[in-house]
Each structure stands twice: as C-alpha cells, then as structure tokens.
C-alpha cells in the first residue's frame, strides 16, 4: 500500500493524517451545503422572503465566530498530546472538548507511539457512537410525535417548544454557578454571565431608544465577545 508506513515511522502530525481528516471533513461540509441549499430553496418555495433567509445566514455566521475560535483553542490545547489532525477531526464533528480531553487522558503523557494513538482515537470515536446513530433511528419518530402533538393542541405545542429551550438555558444558568464553592475563582463565570446579561439588557434599551434594528442582528454575538473579554480583568481581580 502506497500510504503504508510502519509503527517506527509513526508521526502524530504525519501529512497522510491531514489528508484523511481533510477527506472526512470535506464530506461533512458537503452535507452542510446540501442541507443549506435544500432548506433555502424550500424556504423560497413556501413563501419565505429572501431577506429573512439571507439574514439568517449572516446572523448564524456572525454568531459562530467567537465560539468557533474557542473550539480552535481546544484543538491547540490537545495538539501537544495528540498532534493536530486527530483533535481537528474530533472537534469538527460530533464530540466535545470535555469528552475528547477525558478520553485523551486515558493515556498518561504525550502520545508518541502508534498503538496508543489508535487506541485513544478509538476511545474518542466509540464514546460518540450513540450520538451518531441514535438520531438516525429516532429522529423521524420524535419529529412526527411533535407534529401530532401540535395538531392536537397548538398552544400547548408552542409552550412545549419554549419549555424545551428554557429547560436547557436553566441548566446552563445553574452550571455557571457550579464553581462558587471554590471561592474567588469560582465566581469568575458568574460575573462573566452577568456582564453578558447586562450588555444584552443595554442593547435592548438602545434598540428601544434609537429604533436601530441592526442592533438586533449583532446583540448576542456582541454580548459573547464582551463577556469573554471581561473574563480577563475579572480573572486578574479574582483568580
């Protein structure tokens, strides 16, 4: 096999690994483009305005920048131990920084041999098996169940959807306070949370006073960036 190396030639940053990851991620991007084009065309067909659809794309893109940079930081953090291709793959597809870090730590120290590398990669992959396959099995049933529920009681259907989102937000609200028992440093995420919340409230106030509707598009990404930036001086004070 032309690409075959041997265990002694192992390099966790071998060019061939970049090629493999590139191929996998190209397929994932193709899937995203496929669904994007399909949804856009469907939106036009059912009478949604191009303005709404285009603005949705801009909002999603702007919203993504700060969290995506944080994901990139995760790749950098894991690259010492695992090289770049494996963290790049794992943090670009279903998975999470916390899981990949825990899975990587089954091997103590930096991975330097092929056996440890493939084993760690396998553990990382196996932990996501359910997340990869279960939605394929249950997705249709869940969506059909929701449609049925909405057709029976539209108002409860709306409340149900709102309650789902709020359930998630309430859990993350609690999570932010999950370190307060540590003392000073545990309060850093709490203060960042409040900075972001205050900035959002101020954006709302500004929108009300000025009627500048563009504020609406950038309020949440702006809150994320100001919140993240505020973590620096807050950490200096409390860390």
């Amino acid at each position: 096999m032309i690409l075959q190396l041997n265990a002694a030639q192992f390099d966790k940053n071998a060019p061939v690994l970049y090629v493999i990851v590139g191929i996998i991620l190209a397929v994932v991007v193709a899937q995203a483009v496929f669904f994007l084009v399909r949804a856009y065309r469907r939106g036009i067909k059912i009478g949604m305005s191009k303005q709404v659809l285009n603005k949705t794309m801009v909002r999603a893109g702007v919203f993504t920048v700060a969290p995506a940079i944080a994901i990139l930081v995760g790749i950098v953090a894991l690259s010492q131990k695992l090289g770049i291709p494996l963290p790049w793959l794992r943090l670009s597809v279903i998975g999470s920084f916390s899981y990949e870090t825990i899975a990587a730590n089954i091997f103590k120290g930096n991975v330097t041999d092929a056996t440890a590398y493939v084993t760690v990669a396998l553990v990382m992959t196996c932990g996501m098996l359910v997340s990869m396959f279960l939605p394929l099995i249950t997705g249709k049933k869940i969506q059909r169940g929701l449609m049925k529920m909405r057709s029976k009681d539209k108002k409860w259907g709306e409340i149900f959807m709102t309650a789902l989102f709020l359930g998630m937000i309430s859990a993350f609200l609690g999570y932010v306070f999950g370190g307060v028992g540590e003392g000073g440093s545990g309060w850093i995420p709490v203060l960042v949370f409040f900075v972001s919340a205050i900035v959002m409230a101020l954006c709302g106030l500004l929108l009300k006073v000025t009627k500048w509707r563009w504020i609406n598009d950038y309020a949440l990404p702006f809150c994320i960036i100001v919140g993240m930036a505020s973590a620096v001086p807050i950490t200096m004070l409390l860390g």
């Binding site: 493939v118 932990g127 998630m168 306070f177 307060v180």
Partner: protein
C-alpha cells in the same frame, strides 16, 4: 399538506443517508490509522476508557431526545454530525429562529434552524481550517495566560445574553427550573468545595431541566396560568423580520 410531507420524508431519507456516510467515515479514522502505521489496539488501555465511553453513550442518548425536538429534522441530522451542540449549534439555531420571528415547531422554524446550523457548521470548518494552517502563529496567542480566561468562559458569555432574552420573555415558565438548577449546582459546588462536578453534572442536568420545565409548564398551562405563553412584556433586542418587536 402533501408537498410538506414529501419534503419532510425526503429530509429524513437524506438525513439518514448522509448521517450513515459521515458516521462510517468518522469511525473509520482509527482503523485507517491502524493500517497505515501497522499498529494494533492496546485493549488494556482501551478497557481503561470503557467507563468513559459508556458514560458518554448515555449522555448521547439523552442529548438525542433533548435536542432533536429543538433542532427540527434537518437541523438534527446535521447537528449530530457536526457536533458542538450545546456550546454552539443549539444556541445559534435558537437565536436565529427567535430573530427571524418564526413560530417554533413550524416548517419555517425548521428551515431557519437548518440554515443556521448549516452555515454555523461551514463557518466553524473554515475557521478551524484557517486555525490549523496558521497554528504555529496562533498557538502563542491561545496559550497566553492573560487571554486564557476569555476562551475558558465562552459558555457563561453565551448563556448570559441568551438568559436575559428568554427568561424575561417567559419568566413564568422559567422560575421553577432556574431556581432548581441554581440550587443543585450551588449546593453540589459547596458540598464538594470545587467546580469539578459541574462539568459532569451538566450532561445530566440538561434533560432534568427540560423535564422539570415541561412538567411545571404543563401544570401551569392546565391551571390557565400561561395566558400569553408565559410571556412578560419585556423589552429585549429581538424583533422579527416584519419589523415588529416581539413583546
């Protein structure tokens, strides 16, 4: 109704096909590496990770049932391939649906959710590719101790802004789950004297929060306490595409 069903049926069909292809490719990575390097699996090392695998498989099952209704069909198939759900895709879809002024659970919401997750996935990929190409330049910046807290606090920054919008608009529905979650996380933190438990707890508490919110909302709905969908008349920066501010 027929065209809608047909589009929906095709979404599930295409979603499954793409999902299977992506899953097989993702799973193939360690095995392809085995062939390339002529390496084998260290089963002892693998066994030491078994408990983590089981834990995250359970979390994966819970996330499937929690996030699928939120993301819609297309968003689900795409989101569960591209990942980063709670820290990016779900908040992004939620924000875009709210700003587009579409009613959750409708076909319009499904389309906005799918578009937002697709764009978010593509933008993430582009940023990560640029990051990987420029990693030698970026590493000193990202490993800078002064800047590190900014990257460690994405979730609080993200949910701080979102909480103001959603809790103020739906305060009746929010009170019970928010108080409960605050109590659980604060008590667990003081009981252990650290924040280490919170990272593990969040995987479990998202579905718990969802169930508590659904049950309490159902009770309030039945009692007729949710007159206007539990909404308070609060000014937050959310206006729909018709230029009408949501109240």
């Amino acid at each position: 109704m027929k065209p809608l069903r047909s589009f929906d049926d095709n979404t599930h069909l295409y979603g499954r096909i793409w999902g299977i292809i992506a899953a097989l490719l993702i799973i193939s990575y360690p095995f392809v590496c085995m062939i390339i390097f002529g390496a084998s699996i260290d089963w002892g090392l693998f066994a030491s990770g078994a408990s983590i695998i089981i834990l995250y498989c359970v979390v994966g099952a819970v996330e499937t049932f929690t996030y699928t209704p939120m993301l819609g069909s297309g968003g689900t198939y795409l989101g569960f391939v591209t990942g980063n759900l709670s820290n990016l895709k779900v908040p992004c879809a939620l924000n875009c649906m709210e700003q587009a002024g579409v009613e959750k659970g409708t076909e319009e919401a499904e389309i906005v959710s799918t578009i937002s997750i697709a764009v978010s996935s593509i933008v993430t990929m582009v940023i990560l590719i640029l990051g990987v190409v420029l990693i030698s330049f970026l590493t000193p910046v990202f490993e800078n101790e002064t800047l590190a807290p900014a990257f460690d606090n994405v979730l609080p920054a993200l949910f701080g802004g979102m909480a103001v919008v959603y809790i103020s608009k739906n305060w009746k529905i929010s009170v019970i789950p928010c108080v409960l979650m605050l109590l659980v996380f604060i008590i667990s933190s003081y009981a252990t004297g650290s924040g280490d438990l919170a990272g593990t707890l969040i995987g479990v508490m998202v579905p718990v929060g969802v169930i508590v919110t659904l049950v309490s909302s159902r009770i309030m709905y039945k009692k007729g306490w949710l007159g206007e969908n539990g909404a308070a008349q609060t000014e937050v920066p959310q206006a729909n595409e018709n230029g009408e501010e949501d109240k």
